[in-house]
Protein backbone atom coordinates (compact mmCIF):
# COMPACT_ATOMS: atom_id res chain seq x y z
CA UNK A 1 0.00 0.00 0.00
CA UNK A 2 2.68 2.46 1.10
CA UNK A 3 4.85 1.18 -1.69
CA UNK A 4 2.12 1.96 -4.19
CA UNK A 5 1.74 5.53 -2.91
CA UNK A 6 5.50 5.93 -3.24
CA UNK A 7 5.55 4.61 -6.80
CA UNK A 8 2.70 6.94 -7.76
CA UNK A 9 4.29 9.97 -6.13
CA UNK A 10 7.96 9.49 -6.94
CA UNK A 11 7.94 11.02 -10.43
CA UNK A 12 5.98 14.11 -9.41
CA UNK A 13 8.01 14.69 -6.27
CA UNK A 14 11.33 14.24 -8.06
CA UNK A 15 10.26 16.47 -10.97
CA UNK A 16 9.23 19.21 -8.59
CA UNK A 17 12.56 18.97 -6.78
CA UNK A 18 14.64 19.01 -9.95
CA UNK A 19 12.71 22.11 -10.99
CA UNK A 20 13.28 23.71 -7.60
CA UNK A 21 16.91 22.75 -7.03
CA UNK A 22 18.10 22.65 -10.63
CA UNK A 23 20.21 19.60 -9.87
CA UNK A 24 19.39 15.95 -10.42
CA UNK A 25 21.58 14.44 -7.71
CA UNK A 26 20.53 16.89 -5.03
CA UNK A 27 16.87 16.36 -5.99
CA UNK A 28 17.19 12.59 -5.81
CA UNK A 29 18.95 12.76 -2.46
CA UNK A 30 16.27 15.05 -1.00
CA UNK A 31 13.43 12.95 -2.40
CA UNK A 32 14.93 9.78 -0.95
CA UNK A 33 15.26 11.44 2.42
CA UNK A 34 11.61 12.56 2.39
CA UNK A 35 10.40 9.12 1.35
CA UNK A 36 12.45 7.54 4.14
CA UNK A 37 10.87 9.85 6.72
CA UNK A 38 7.43 9.02 5.33
CA UNK A 39 8.14 5.29 5.51
CA UNK A 40 8.98 5.73 9.15
CA UNK A 41 6.07 7.97 10.18
CA UNK A 42 3.10 7.12 7.98
CA UNK A 43 2.48 3.55 9.16
CA UNK A 44 1.92 4.89 12.71
CA UNK A 45 0.38 8.32 12.08
CA UNK A 46 -1.34 7.56 8.78
CA UNK A 47 -0.55 9.17 5.42
CA UNK A 48 -1.33 12.89 5.09
CA UNK A 49 -4.29 13.99 2.93
CA UNK A 50 -1.98 15.28 0.23
CA UNK A 51 0.99 12.90 0.31
CA UNK A 52 2.60 14.50 -2.74
CA UNK A 53 2.65 17.98 -1.26
CA UNK A 54 3.89 16.62 2.06
CA UNK A 55 6.75 14.78 0.35
CA UNK A 56 7.77 17.76 -1.78
CA UNK A 57 7.66 20.15 1.17
CA UNK A 58 9.64 17.83 3.40
CA UNK A 59 12.20 17.18 0.67
CA UNK A 60 12.58 20.90 -0.05
CA UNK A 61 13.12 21.64 3.62
CA UNK A 62 15.76 18.95 3.86
CA UNK A 63 17.49 20.21 0.73
CA UNK A 64 17.50 23.78 2.01
CA UNK A 65 18.94 22.63 5.33
CA UNK A 66 21.65 20.79 3.52
CA UNK A 67 22.51 23.74 1.29
CA UNK A 68 22.64 25.99 4.37
CA UNK A 69 24.99 23.63 6.14
CA UNK A 70 27.23 23.44 3.09
CA UNK A 71 27.21 27.21 2.77
CA UNK A 72 28.16 27.70 6.41
CA UNK A 73 30.92 25.17 6.01
CA UNK A 74 32.12 26.86 2.85
CA UNK A 75 32.18 30.25 4.58
CA UNK A 76 34.11 28.80 7.47
CA UNK A 77 36.83 27.37 5.34
CA UNK A 78 36.74 30.21 2.77
CA UNK A 79 37.35 27.87 -0.09
CA UNK A 80 34.12 27.40 -1.94
CA UNK A 81 32.06 30.29 -3.22
CA UNK A 82 28.83 30.80 -1.26
CA UNK A 83 25.86 29.31 -3.13
CA UNK A 84 23.36 31.66 -4.66
CA UNK A 85 20.39 32.83 -2.63
CA UNK A 86 18.03 30.08 -1.61
CA UNK A 87 14.28 30.24 -1.39
CA UNK A 88 13.14 29.99 2.22
CA UNK A 89 9.41 30.11 1.79
CA UNK A 90 7.14 28.31 -0.56
CA UNK A 91 3.48 27.61 -0.95
CA UNK A 92 3.04 23.94 -0.29
CA UNK A 93 -0.50 23.86 -1.67
CA UNK A 94 0.63 24.89 -5.15
CA UNK A 95 2.95 22.24 -6.41
CA UNK A 96 3.18 22.34 -10.17
CA UNK A 97 3.34 19.06 -12.01
CA UNK A 98 6.73 19.22 -13.72
CA UNK A 99 6.93 15.62 -14.88
CA UNK A 100 6.73 16.65 -18.52
CA UNK A 101 9.88 18.77 -18.14
CA UNK A 102 11.52 15.79 -16.45
CA UNK A 103 10.53 13.41 -19.26
CA UNK A 104 12.00 15.69 -21.91
CA UNK A 105 15.21 16.00 -19.91
CA UNK A 106 15.51 12.22 -19.44
CA UNK A 107 14.78 11.51 -23.12
CA UNK A 108 17.06 14.20 -24.52
CA UNK A 109 18.72 12.99 -27.74
CA UNK A 110 22.11 14.19 -26.44
CA UNK A 111 22.02 11.25 -24.02
CA UNK A 112 22.84 7.70 -25.15
CA UNK A 113 19.66 5.71 -25.70
CA UNK A 114 20.38 3.20 -22.93
CA UNK A 115 20.93 6.13 -20.57
CA UNK A 116 17.59 7.67 -21.63
CA UNK A 117 15.80 4.40 -20.96
CA UNK A 118 17.44 3.85 -17.55
CA UNK A 119 16.92 7.43 -16.42
CA UNK A 120 13.27 7.46 -17.47
CA UNK A 121 12.60 4.28 -15.50
CA UNK A 122 14.47 5.60 -12.48
CA UNK A 123 13.24 9.20 -12.45
CA UNK A 124 9.68 8.88 -13.73
CA UNK A 125 8.92 5.26 -12.94
CA UNK A 126 10.53 5.30 -9.52
CA UNK A 127 12.23 1.94 -10.14
CA UNK A 128 15.25 1.12 -8.05
CA UNK A 129 18.60 0.84 -9.80
CA UNK A 130 18.73 -2.88 -8.94
CA UNK A 131 15.30 -3.48 -10.49
CA UNK A 132 16.29 -1.73 -13.73
CA UNK A 133 19.53 -3.72 -13.81
CA UNK A 134 17.60 -6.98 -13.46
CA UNK A 135 15.17 -6.00 -16.20
CA UNK A 136 18.00 -5.37 -18.67
CA UNK A 137 20.11 -8.28 -17.45
CA UNK A 138 23.15 -6.21 -16.51
CA UNK A 139 24.88 -5.92 -13.15
CA UNK A 140 23.71 -3.31 -10.68
CA UNK A 141 27.16 -1.71 -10.93
CA UNK A 142 26.78 -1.30 -14.69
CA UNK A 143 23.31 0.20 -14.35
CA UNK A 144 24.50 2.56 -11.66
CA UNK A 145 27.32 3.75 -13.93
CA UNK A 146 24.86 4.22 -16.78
CA UNK A 147 22.62 6.41 -14.61
CA UNK A 148 25.53 8.37 -13.17
CA UNK A 149 26.92 9.08 -16.64
CA UNK A 150 23.56 10.26 -17.92
CA UNK A 151 23.07 12.59 -14.96
CA UNK A 152 26.61 13.89 -15.28
CA UNK A 153 26.02 14.71 -18.93
CA UNK A 154 22.78 16.55 -18.14
CA UNK A 155 24.67 18.70 -15.67
CA UNK A 156 27.87 19.26 -17.62
CA UNK A 157 26.29 20.04 -20.98
CA UNK A 158 23.37 22.09 -19.68
CA UNK A 159 20.54 19.88 -20.94
CA UNK A 160 17.54 22.00 -19.96
CA UNK A 161 14.73 21.03 -17.63
CA UNK A 162 12.08 22.24 -20.05
CA UNK A 163 9.45 21.25 -22.56
CA UNK A 164 10.91 22.05 -26.01
CA UNK A 165 9.56 24.94 -28.05
CA UNK A 166 6.77 24.33 -30.56
CA UNK A 167 9.08 24.03 -33.60
CA UNK A 168 11.15 21.26 -31.98
CA UNK A 169 8.32 19.56 -30.13
CA UNK A 170 7.26 17.01 -32.77
CA UNK A 171 10.74 15.49 -33.16
CA UNK A 172 11.46 15.62 -29.45
CA UNK A 173 8.11 14.02 -28.65
CA UNK A 174 8.96 11.26 -31.13
CA UNK A 175 12.12 10.60 -29.14
CA UNK A 176 10.16 10.39 -25.86
CA UNK A 177 7.57 8.04 -27.36
CA UNK A 178 10.36 5.87 -28.79
CA UNK A 179 11.91 5.46 -25.33
CA UNK A 180 8.59 4.43 -23.79
CA UNK A 181 7.92 1.99 -26.64
CA UNK A 182 11.41 0.55 -26.30
CA UNK A 183 10.74 -0.09 -22.60
CA UNK A 184 7.46 -1.73 -23.58
CA UNK A 185 9.09 -4.00 -26.14
CA UNK A 186 11.65 -5.18 -23.60
CA UNK A 187 8.67 -6.26 -21.52
CA UNK A 188 6.91 -7.88 -24.45
CA UNK A 189 9.72 -10.32 -25.06
CA UNK A 190 8.98 -12.02 -21.78
CA UNK A 191 9.54 -9.64 -18.88
CA UNK A 192 6.04 -8.49 -18.07
CA UNK A 193 7.16 -6.00 -15.41
CA UNK A 194 8.57 -3.59 -17.96
CA UNK A 195 5.46 -3.86 -20.13
CA UNK A 196 3.29 -2.72 -17.25
CA UNK A 197 5.83 -0.03 -16.40
CA UNK A 198 5.79 1.32 -19.97
CA UNK A 199 1.99 1.48 -19.85
CA UNK A 200 2.19 3.46 -16.63
CA UNK A 201 4.61 5.88 -18.30
CA UNK A 202 2.41 6.03 -21.38
CA UNK A 203 -0.57 6.90 -19.23
CA UNK A 204 1.36 9.69 -17.50
CA UNK A 205 2.47 11.04 -20.87
CA UNK A 206 -1.02 10.96 -22.39
CA UNK A 207 -2.33 12.66 -19.26
CA UNK A 208 0.30 15.39 -19.45
CA UNK A 209 -0.15 15.93 -23.20
CA UNK A 210 -3.90 15.38 -23.60
CA UNK A 211 -3.96 16.95 -27.05
CA UNK A 212 -1.17 14.87 -28.62
CA UNK A 213 -2.78 12.05 -30.63
CA UNK A 214 0.43 10.03 -30.88
CA UNK A 215 0.78 9.91 -27.09
CA UNK A 216 -2.71 8.38 -26.92
CA UNK A 217 -1.93 6.16 -29.90
CA UNK A 218 1.14 4.69 -28.20
CA UNK A 219 -0.78 4.09 -24.97
CA UNK A 220 -3.61 2.37 -26.85
CA UNK A 221 -1.13 0.22 -28.79
CA UNK A 222 0.64 -0.94 -25.65
CA UNK A 223 -2.61 -1.64 -23.78
CA UNK A 224 -4.13 -3.75 -26.54
CA UNK A 225 -0.93 -5.74 -27.02
CA UNK A 226 -0.50 -6.17 -23.30
CA UNK A 227 -4.04 -7.51 -22.99
CA UNK A 228 -3.00 -10.51 -25.11
CA UNK A 229 0.28 -11.29 -23.38
CA UNK A 230 -0.97 -14.37 -21.51
CA UNK A 231 -2.08 -15.99 -24.75
CA UNK A 232 1.22 -15.42 -26.57
CA UNK A 233 3.01 -18.26 -24.87
CA UNK A 234 1.97 -21.76 -24.03
CA UNK A 235 4.56 -22.79 -21.48
CA UNK A 236 7.66 -21.63 -23.29
CA UNK A 237 6.17 -22.02 -26.74
CA UNK A 238 5.24 -19.11 -28.96
CA UNK A 239 1.56 -19.13 -29.99
CA UNK A 240 0.53 -17.40 -33.21
CA UNK A 241 -2.41 -15.02 -33.26
CA UNK A 242 -4.60 -17.57 -35.10
CA UNK A 243 -4.03 -20.24 -32.47
CA UNK A 244 -4.23 -18.06 -29.37
CA UNK A 245 -6.73 -19.00 -26.66
CA UNK A 246 -8.92 -15.94 -26.64
CA UNK A 247 -10.30 -16.66 -23.20
CA UNK A 248 -6.82 -15.64 -21.97
CA UNK A 249 -7.17 -12.17 -23.47
CA UNK A 250 -7.90 -9.41 -21.00
CA UNK A 251 -11.08 -8.07 -22.59
CA UNK A 252 -11.33 -5.18 -20.20
CA UNK A 253 -7.87 -3.92 -21.04
CA UNK A 254 -8.67 -4.30 -24.74
CA UNK A 255 -11.81 -2.18 -24.26
CA UNK A 256 -9.82 0.41 -22.30
CA UNK A 257 -7.19 0.47 -25.03
CA UNK A 258 -9.87 0.99 -27.69
CA UNK A 259 -11.30 3.92 -25.72
CA UNK A 260 -7.83 5.51 -25.71
CA UNK A 261 -7.54 4.82 -29.46
CA UNK A 262 -10.90 6.53 -30.01
CA UNK A 263 -9.55 9.59 -28.23
CA UNK A 264 -6.49 9.60 -30.50
CA UNK A 265 -8.74 9.40 -33.57
CA UNK A 266 -10.94 12.23 -32.29
CA UNK A 267 -7.81 14.35 -32.05
CA UNK A 268 -7.19 13.67 -35.73
CA UNK A 269 -4.36 11.22 -35.08
CA UNK A 270 -3.10 9.45 -38.20
CA UNK A 271 0.50 8.90 -37.09
CA UNK A 272 2.45 5.65 -36.86
CA UNK A 273 1.42 4.77 -33.30
CA UNK A 274 -2.25 5.50 -33.94
CA UNK A 275 -2.21 3.30 -37.07
CA UNK A 276 -0.44 0.48 -35.20
CA UNK A 277 -2.99 0.73 -32.37
CA UNK A 278 -5.79 0.54 -34.94
CA UNK A 279 -4.20 -2.62 -36.38
CA UNK A 280 -3.85 -4.14 -32.91
CA UNK A 281 -7.49 -3.28 -32.21
CA UNK A 282 -8.67 -5.03 -35.39
CA UNK A 283 -6.54 -8.05 -34.57
CA UNK A 284 -8.15 -8.31 -31.14
CA UNK A 285 -11.60 -8.87 -32.64
CA UNK A 286 -13.36 -12.24 -32.79
CA UNK A 287 -13.35 -12.12 -36.61
CA UNK A 288 -10.43 -10.20 -38.04
CA UNK A 289 -11.10 -7.93 -41.02
CA UNK A 290 -7.88 -8.78 -42.87
CA UNK A 291 -8.46 -6.54 -45.93
CA UNK A 292 -8.80 -3.63 -43.49
CA UNK A 293 -5.63 -4.70 -41.65
CA UNK A 294 -3.78 -4.86 -44.98
CA UNK A 295 -5.00 -1.35 -45.82
CA UNK A 296 -3.76 0.00 -42.47
CA UNK A 297 -0.39 -1.67 -43.02
CA UNK A 298 -0.25 0.03 -46.43
CA UNK A 299 -0.66 3.37 -44.65
CA UNK A 300 1.97 2.41 -42.12
CA UNK A 301 4.40 1.56 -44.95
CA UNK A 302 3.72 5.06 -46.29
CA UNK A 303 4.56 6.57 -42.89
CA UNK A 304 7.62 4.50 -42.05
CA UNK A 305 8.97 3.21 -45.36
CA UNK A 306 9.91 0.07 -43.44
CA UNK A 307 10.46 -3.27 -45.19
CA UNK A 308 9.41 -5.12 -42.04
CA UNK A 309 6.07 -3.30 -42.11
CA UNK A 310 5.70 -4.25 -45.77
CA UNK A 311 6.29 -7.87 -44.73
CA UNK A 312 3.44 -7.54 -42.22
CA UNK A 313 1.25 -6.04 -44.91
CA UNK A 314 1.94 -9.08 -47.09
CA UNK A 315 0.88 -11.40 -44.25
CA UNK A 316 -2.42 -9.50 -43.98
CA UNK A 317 -2.90 -9.79 -47.77
CA UNK A 318 -2.40 -13.56 -47.49
CA UNK A 319 -4.82 -13.77 -44.57
CA UNK A 320 -7.32 -11.83 -46.66
CA UNK A 321 -7.17 -14.69 -49.15
CA UNK A 322 -4.46 -13.82 -51.69
CA UNK A 323 -1.23 -15.69 -50.81
CA UNK A 324 0.07 -15.32 -54.38
CA UNK A 325 -0.07 -11.51 -54.21
CA UNK A 326 1.47 -11.71 -50.74
CA UNK A 327 4.40 -13.79 -52.02
CA UNK A 328 5.01 -11.31 -54.86
CA UNK A 329 5.20 -8.48 -52.31
CA UNK A 330 7.50 -10.47 -50.02
CA UNK A 331 9.88 -11.55 -52.77
CA UNK A 332 10.67 -7.93 -53.59
CA UNK A 333 11.97 -7.22 -50.05
CA UNK A 334 15.59 -7.07 -49.05
CA UNK A 335 15.37 -8.75 -45.67
CA UNK A 336 17.63 -11.76 -46.11
CA UNK A 337 19.01 -11.57 -42.56
CA UNK A 338 15.56 -11.39 -41.00
CA UNK A 339 14.08 -14.55 -39.52
CA UNK A 340 10.44 -13.62 -40.11
CA UNK A 341 11.11 -12.88 -43.78
CA UNK A 342 12.03 -16.52 -44.34
CA UNK A 343 9.36 -18.00 -42.06
CA UNK A 344 6.71 -15.87 -43.81
CA UNK A 345 7.94 -16.98 -47.23
CA UNK A 346 7.88 -20.59 -46.01
CA UNK A 347 4.29 -20.23 -44.86
CA UNK A 348 3.17 -18.55 -48.11
CA UNK A 349 4.90 -21.18 -50.27
CA UNK A 350 3.28 -23.93 -48.19
CA UNK A 351 -0.15 -22.43 -48.77
CA UNK A 352 0.56 -22.25 -52.50
CA UNK A 353 1.45 -25.97 -52.49
CA UNK A 354 5.16 -25.40 -53.20
CA UNK A 355 6.41 -27.70 -50.43
CA UNK A 356 10.05 -28.07 -51.54
CA UNK A 357 10.60 -24.31 -51.70
CA UNK A 358 8.74 -23.91 -48.42
CA UNK A 359 11.14 -26.34 -46.76
CA UNK A 360 14.16 -24.37 -48.01
CA UNK A 361 12.69 -21.16 -46.63
CA UNK A 362 11.91 -22.70 -43.23
CA UNK A 363 15.43 -24.15 -43.03
CA UNK A 364 16.90 -20.71 -43.67
CA UNK A 365 14.63 -19.28 -40.93
CA UNK A 366 15.79 -21.99 -38.55
CA UNK A 367 19.42 -20.99 -39.18
CA UNK A 368 18.57 -17.46 -38.04
CA UNK A 369 16.45 -18.40 -35.01
CA UNK A 370 18.09 -17.36 -31.77
CA UNK A 371 15.62 -18.40 -29.09
CA UNK A 372 14.56 -21.93 -28.21
CA UNK A 373 10.79 -21.33 -28.56
CA UNK A 374 11.38 -19.96 -32.06
CA UNK A 375 13.51 -22.96 -33.03
CA UNK A 376 10.94 -25.40 -31.70
CA UNK A 377 8.17 -23.63 -33.57
CA UNK A 378 10.04 -23.70 -36.88
CA UNK A 379 11.08 -27.34 -36.45
CA UNK A 380 7.42 -28.25 -35.93
CA UNK A 381 6.49 -26.38 -39.09
CA UNK A 382 9.15 -28.20 -41.07
CA UNK A 383 7.95 -31.58 -39.80
CA UNK A 384 4.40 -30.79 -40.85
CA UNK A 385 5.40 -30.21 -44.47
Amino acid sequence: MLEEVFRDQWGRVLASLVGFLGDFDRAEEAAQEAFAIAAERWPASGAPDTPGAWLVTTARNRAIDRIRRERTLAQKIHLLPAPEAIVDEFDDTLIKDERLELIFTCCHPALPLEGQVALTLRALGGLQTAEIARAFVVSEETMKRRLTRAKAKIKATGIPFAVPGAHRLPERLDAVLAVVYLIYNEGYSGRVDLGAEAIRLGRVLAGLMPREPEAHGLLALMMIHHARRRARFSGDDLVLLDDQDRSLWDQRQIADGRAVLDRAMELGGRGAYVVQAAIASLQARERIDWPQVAELYRRLVGLTGSAVVELNRAVAVAQAGDPAAALRAVDGLELDGYLYFHSTRGELLRRLGRAAEARTAYRRALELAASTPERRFLTRRLEQL
Partner: protein, 112 residues
Protein backbone atom coordinates in the same frame (compact mmCIF):
# COMPACT_ATOMS: atom_id res chain seq x y z
CA UNK B 1 27.10 28.72 -20.52
CA UNK B 2 29.75 28.72 -23.20
CA UNK B 3 29.87 26.09 -25.89
CA UNK B 4 32.36 25.40 -28.65
CA UNK B 5 30.92 24.47 -32.02
CA UNK B 6 33.57 22.42 -33.78
CA UNK B 7 32.89 22.28 -37.49
CA UNK B 8 34.02 19.16 -39.32
CA UNK B 9 33.74 18.81 -43.06
CA UNK B 10 35.39 17.17 -46.03
CA UNK B 11 38.29 19.33 -47.26
CA UNK B 12 37.53 21.50 -50.24
CA UNK B 13 33.77 21.20 -50.06
CA UNK B 14 33.36 24.92 -50.70
CA UNK B 15 35.57 24.84 -53.81
CA UNK B 16 33.43 22.16 -55.43
CA UNK B 17 30.13 23.93 -54.74
CA UNK B 18 28.60 26.53 -57.05
CA UNK B 19 29.36 30.26 -56.76
CA UNK B 20 25.87 30.98 -55.45
CA UNK B 21 26.10 28.27 -52.80
CA UNK B 22 29.50 29.52 -51.71
CA UNK B 23 28.39 33.15 -51.51
CA UNK B 24 25.20 32.23 -49.64
CA UNK B 25 27.27 30.21 -47.22
CA UNK B 26 29.75 33.05 -46.58
CA UNK B 27 26.87 35.48 -46.05
CA UNK B 28 25.40 33.14 -43.45
CA UNK B 29 28.72 32.90 -41.60
CA UNK B 30 28.93 36.70 -41.58
CA UNK B 31 25.35 36.93 -40.26
CA UNK B 32 26.16 34.38 -37.57
CA UNK B 33 29.17 36.38 -36.48
CA UNK B 34 26.87 39.40 -36.04
CA UNK B 35 24.72 37.51 -33.52
CA UNK B 36 25.61 38.70 -30.02
CA UNK B 37 25.65 35.12 -28.75
CA UNK B 38 28.82 34.51 -30.80
CA UNK B 39 31.85 35.09 -28.63
CA UNK B 40 34.38 34.25 -31.31
CA UNK B 41 34.93 32.18 -34.40
CA UNK B 42 37.71 31.16 -36.77
CA UNK B 43 38.02 29.35 -40.06
CA UNK B 44 41.09 27.14 -40.22
CA UNK B 45 43.47 26.69 -43.13
CA UNK B 46 43.47 23.22 -44.73
CA UNK B 47 44.64 20.22 -42.71
CA UNK B 48 47.79 19.90 -44.90
CA UNK B 49 48.93 23.15 -43.32
CA UNK B 50 48.84 21.53 -39.87
CA UNK B 51 51.93 20.70 -37.83
CA UNK B 52 51.73 18.49 -34.76
CA UNK B 53 53.95 19.00 -31.74
CA UNK B 54 54.72 16.28 -29.17
CA UNK B 55 57.13 15.84 -26.34
CA UNK B 56 59.28 12.72 -26.26
CA UNK B 57 62.01 12.21 -23.65
CA UNK B 58 62.39 15.96 -23.17
CA UNK B 59 62.71 16.55 -26.89
CA UNK B 60 60.13 18.33 -29.00
CA UNK B 61 58.97 16.31 -31.97
CA UNK B 62 57.34 18.00 -34.87
CA UNK B 63 55.45 16.21 -37.61
CA UNK B 64 53.63 17.33 -40.69
CA UNK B 65 49.86 16.90 -40.95
CA UNK B 66 46.82 16.84 -38.67
CA UNK B 67 46.55 14.82 -35.43
CA UNK B 68 43.84 12.48 -36.69
CA UNK B 69 43.96 11.27 -40.26
CA UNK B 70 40.24 11.21 -41.09
CA UNK B 71 38.14 12.03 -44.13
CA UNK B 72 36.35 14.84 -42.33
CA UNK B 73 38.64 17.37 -40.72
CA UNK B 74 38.23 20.23 -38.29
CA UNK B 75 37.66 23.20 -40.54
CA UNK B 76 36.75 25.87 -38.04
CA UNK B 77 35.12 26.61 -34.74
CA UNK B 78 32.82 29.05 -33.00
CA UNK B 79 32.58 29.93 -29.37
CA UNK B 80 29.06 30.80 -28.32
CA UNK B 81 27.19 31.85 -25.20
CA UNK B 82 23.88 30.03 -24.76
CA UNK B 83 21.36 29.56 -21.96
CA UNK B 84 21.39 25.77 -22.28
CA UNK B 85 22.24 22.89 -24.59
CA UNK B 86 19.03 23.28 -26.59
CA UNK B 87 19.91 26.85 -27.49
CA UNK B 88 23.45 25.78 -28.39
CA UNK B 89 22.08 23.00 -30.61
CA UNK B 90 19.76 25.49 -32.33
CA UNK B 91 22.74 27.68 -33.20
CA UNK B 92 24.78 24.66 -34.27
CA UNK B 93 22.02 23.58 -36.63
CA UNK B 94 22.43 26.87 -38.52
CA UNK B 95 26.07 26.29 -39.48
CA UNK B 96 26.16 26.27 -43.32
CA UNK B 97 28.74 23.44 -43.49
CA UNK B 98 25.94 21.06 -42.46
CA UNK B 99 24.30 21.49 -45.87
CA UNK B 100 27.48 20.22 -47.52
CA UNK B 101 27.50 17.03 -45.47
CA UNK B 102 29.52 18.44 -42.58
CA UNK B 103 29.09 17.75 -38.86
CA UNK B 104 29.11 20.18 -35.96
CA UNK B 105 30.31 18.84 -32.63
CA UNK B 106 28.89 20.81 -29.70
CA UNK B 107 31.04 20.76 -26.58
CA UNK B 108 30.46 22.73 -23.40
CA UNK B 109 33.44 24.80 -22.32
CA UNK B 110 34.89 24.21 -18.85
CA UNK B 111 34.21 27.12 -16.55
CA UNK B 112 37.16 28.18 -14.46
Amino acid sequence: MQYALLIYAEPGYLETSSDEEREASYAEYVAMAGDERYVGAAQLQPAEMATCVRLSGGRTLMTDGPFADTKEVLGGFCLIEAADLDEALELAARVPALRFGGTVEVRPVVRL
